[in-house]
Assembly symmetry: C2
Homo-oligomer: 119 residues x 2
DNA sequence: GCAATATATATAGCAATACATAGTACATGG
DNA sequence: CCATGTACTATGTATTGCTATATATATTGC
């Protein structure tokens, strides 16, 4: 089996950096699509390309920070069976933040693409 | 004169995080467009939306790191007048890394956009 | 001639965030 | 009873953009 090359490791490190910021936006978008609980969010994101190895330890702290920043609300719900679940709902402030993040992300993409024409 | 709101500060902080990773890709793209020296790169990026306040202290360390990682080469050129300039040229390894970064960036955008459909 | 400004490059320290890892608790199945 | 799945929490580490500052040379205006 072919092991990882130096290039793979460099790109993995880069991806980790590139996700800073992006990941909060991604989670906000996910919650914006409909109220959800933590484990459910982790499980659904694991189906997205590139996130197969996503760990809970990556997701829960961001959800906590988003709650602290007022971007989402969190509510414990006791299930008939199983552990209680913490459901997250986006707030107006969170929806506004998400819109602005998307705009910035789009602009960053445009700035990137513009680098090829200004040699 | 209207000052910044909390929302502005939160977004500014977020932008700083969102630029991690992205900024290296941006500089690689800039150098990929044609060999350039540091001050010139700073000056041209300052015309890009969102980068009006870009500082040299942000750019030179990333150029240094890219050289150290073998993504670009650097070459001092003495000008007839003025201080000597350090010119940067992308390497094959840098071009390959840029292509992969772009692919990841595109995929991240797709994953983000997909969050609206999976409620 | 000197001060201010522009051009040109460099560096240290800090703040913030994704990630890895480990832990706790409850339910289920063999 | 143990392993696994479900569900959430805590902590330390690594890394990078940003701020602030420094140094050097050339040009311009008084």
């Amino acid at each position: 089996m072919v092991g990882k090359t130096d290039n793979d490791d460099v790109l993995e490190r880069w991806i980790s950096q590139a996700r800073k910021g992006y990941f909060e936006m991604l989670l906000l978008a996910r919650v914006s699509a409909g109220r959800a609980y933590g484990y459910q969010i982790v499980a659904s994101l694991k189906h997205a390309p590139g996130f197969e190895n996503l760990a809970e330890g990556t997701v829960y702290p961001v959800l906590s920070r988003m709650k602290k920043d007022g971007l989402v609300t969190a509510e414990w719900v006791a299930e008939e069976t199983g552990a209680p679940r913490k459901y997250y709902t986006i707030t107006d402030r969170g929806a506004a933040a998400l819109a602005r993040m998307r705009a910035v992300w789009t602009r960053m993409g445009e700035v990137l693409d513009a680098q090829g024409d200004t040699a």
